[in-house]
Every structure is written in structure tokens, then in C-alpha cells.
Symmetry: C2
Subunit: 199 residues, 2 copies
DNA sequence: CGCGACGTTGATTTGCCTCAACGATTGTGG
DNA sequence: CCACAATCGTTGAGGCAAATCAACGTCGCG
């Protein structure tokens, strides 16, 4: 396997943020991941199924969401290049998933399944730390977002998202973004109009 | 050290949920933790300081909160017996803390500092997994809570909290609970009245 | 072409906030 | 131990943010 080709190169850069791997170690790591493609609107995970993978997005865009008891969609996050996708609870504990993950455009992901990940932990003990650190970071940003949801208005949250993730915002419909922000799409539409008028 | 005394016994039970330790391993683990007491209203961590510990609560109650830019308090969670407290971002990366942690009553905590935790990782590689799993679980429940904040009314969130954490609710003032629920304490008071009237 | 998904807009309603006032309870210093 | 302050809980009036419902225009796609 040539780990210098595009998708694997991205993966290499991604983990380099957290850990120092030799080329040999990385190769050992990378060989457990296999590339997979998903067409627009295709599901990589459906709520209720058991999540069999952890995925690293190398192309395209996914939405990670859940249906609540009233049938309303709530988007937890959008994953583009360099993001990870999984239902970690379902994956780790092999229980039915609480989340759905759907491609918003034609996309590509590097996937690892559970057995290979276990094997990886044994082969490269450092990987345990890698995933701990990654989970911690996700956890911290989730905490921040929860505070934001309480302290900012929908308007402010929208503008924050635009400034933080301009490339993602571009790919989304009003409806999808509204569901991430936790507001109705009608209201999002009104927010946009107000902002337009100000400029 | 006798690891059968109360505080350490609690710690043992806590980690037994996630991992299998021999008595000897546990002793190696536990000896890095030292017991510390905090009086009511005392701070174990103040926003802006660097968090020097991870703590396991064995007695009492803490509130973990942050002040936003407008000076409003937002409680992330309350920690009673069997809960962990830290600002994981500040602790891991040795950066100023985003959180404050205060004792709501006279309390006791088993603490471990950063150097000892690093040492622990080397002595007992399993500990890496332990903390990864713990972080994952926290992360999952935070995800759930974020969805709830979007899909439930304040009334429903209040009743959910009461049913899930009756012992904690008992220890809290209206103000503290309101700040956890993300509503004003006046409105919480009105919710309580409505519920009373229905019964 | 026609249908379905998406975006916009307005009218109305509702959940929750803010401000202000006041009693009840707790804590504290003299 | 009391007096007084500080904190906490309750209540009401008024206002704003955002939801809901309904109607309609637009666009892309089979």
C-alpha cells in the first residue's frame, strides 16, 4: 500500500496533530483502513442499526443526526474532509445506533471496523492514547457548543457557524442548517433576510 | 495504604464498571490519588487558572460551571459521589481553565495530579483505555443532553432531571438548577407552581 | 412538463426573559 | 442570641425570540 496517496495522506496529517508516528508505524495503522464511496443521499449508518465502523472523511460531506420521539431531526454535526464519523456508543458497545449518518454529496471515507480497531490497539498501544485525545477534544468542543446554545441567540449562532465553517455552510440547505442550529427553517430564513437588509 | 477504606473503595467500584483490575493493580492505581476536603462554597478550580488535577468525588456535591462573556453562569453539571470533576482541556493542555468548580456543601475528593497521571499511564497501560472509555461515555451523554435541549421544553427537562437525579435535585437551590437547565430562576419557579397545581 | 423539494413571507401564538416588588429563610457579626 | 443583611423563592406585568401554520414562488429533476 502506498500511504502517500491522497486519502491516506490526509489521514496521516490528521493523526499527526495528536501523535508522532514513524512512517512504519503509520503504515501499520493505515493498513486497517479501507476506502469506501457513498453517493449523495446514501446512508452509511441508519438509526437502530449497529454501527460497524469508525470513518475518516476524505471527500464530500455527511450529516450526523438523530430523530427524536416526535420525529424531528436534530443534526449533531456535519463532517467534511478531515472529520471523523461514527456512533461511538453503538460502535463500542455494539448496541443499536441512536444516530443516522447520510452523505449530502458524493463522498469518500476511510473506514475501520471493530475487529481491526481492537487489533490496532494491540499492535500500536499509542493508538489508545490517540483516540482518547481525539475523544477529549470532541468532548470539549461539545461543551462549548452547549454553553453557546444557552448564551447566544439563533442569529448569533448562525453567524458564528458561517464564520467558523464557511466551506460547510456552502454545502447545506436551509433546512439542514436550521436543524443543526436547533431552530425552524422558517426562522432561519427570516434571520438571513435581516442580515441581508443590514448590508 | 488500605484500599478498602471508604473513599478508595468507591473508586474501586467506579473503575470496576469499565475495567478489570487485580487487587495489586488497583493498589498501584489508587496510590496516586490523595484525599482532599473542601468546605461549602470553597473552590477547587477557578476559571482562568490552570487545572492541576482530576478528581473523583467521594462525598458532598460540586457544581461545574462557566461564566460567559455577559457574566451569566452556565452550569455544565453537578458532581456528587461517584462522579469525576476536572477541566479536561485545561488539565491536559495546561491552558487557563474555562470552568469553575465549587463545593456546594462540605465535600471530599480523591485527586490525582498531572505528573502522577502520566506516571500511571506508564505503569498501567490499561489506564489509558480506562480514561478513553470514561471520556467516551461522558461524550455520549453530552450528545444526548444537547438533543434534549433542542427537543424538550424547560418543563420537560426539569421533570427529567428530577426523575433521573432525585438525590442531586434535593441539594440544589432554584438558582443553581435553573442555570443547569438554561432558564431563568423566575421561570423555574413558575414551572414548579404549575406542577404543584396539577397534583 | 409536472412534481416534489426548497426557500420566503406573513399572521398568530407561545415559551421564556426581564424587571420589579415582596415575603421567607439563612447566615453573620456584634 | 438577637438584629440585620444577604440570599433565596414567588409572583405579576410586559416584552421579545422563536415556533407554528398556511400560502405561495422557484428551482431542479425524473
Amino acid at each position: 500500500m502506498n500511504t502517500n496517496v491522497m486519502p491516506y495522506h490526509l489521514l496521516k496529517q490528521n493523526i499527526a496533530k495528536h501523535i508522532n508516528f514513524s512512517d512504519k508505524e503509520f503504515e501499520l495503522y493505515a493498513k486497517h483502513f479501507y476506502l469506501n464511496s457513498f453517493k449523495k443521499k446514501e446512508y452509511i449508518l441508519k438509526q437502530g442499526n449497529i454501527c460497524s465502523f469508525e470513518g475518516f472523511v476524505t471527500k464530500g460531506c455527511f450529516r450526523v443526526y438523530t430523530l427524536d420521539v416526535d420525529g424531528n431531526e436534530h443534526v449533531l454535526y456535519f463532517a467534511v474532509k478531515d472529520w471523523w464519523i461514527t456512533d461511538i456508543d453503538s460502535f463500542t458497545n455494539q448496541i443499536p445506533s441512536y444516530l443516522s449518518i447520510q452523505a449530502l454529496e458524493d463522498s469518500e471515507v476511510l473506514l475501520i471496523n471493530k475487529e481491526d480497531k481492537e487489533r490496532l490497539y494491540k499492535e500500536l498501544p499509542n493508538v489508545e492514547k490517540l483516540f482518547r485525545v481525539m475523544t477529549q477534544k470532541t468532548h470539549v468542543s461539545m461543551q462549548r457548543r452547549m454553553i453557546q446554545n444557552h448564551s447566544l441567540t439563533a442569529d448569533q449562532r448562525y453567524q458564528y457557524f458561517l464564520s467558523k465553517y464557511p466551506e460547510i455552510a456552502q454545502k447545506l440547505t436551509n433546512l439542514q442548517l436550521a436543524s443543526y442550529l436547533g431552530i425552524s427553517h422558517e426562522f432561519l430564513s427570516k434571520i438571513r433576510r435581516k442580515i441581508m437588509q443590514k448590508k
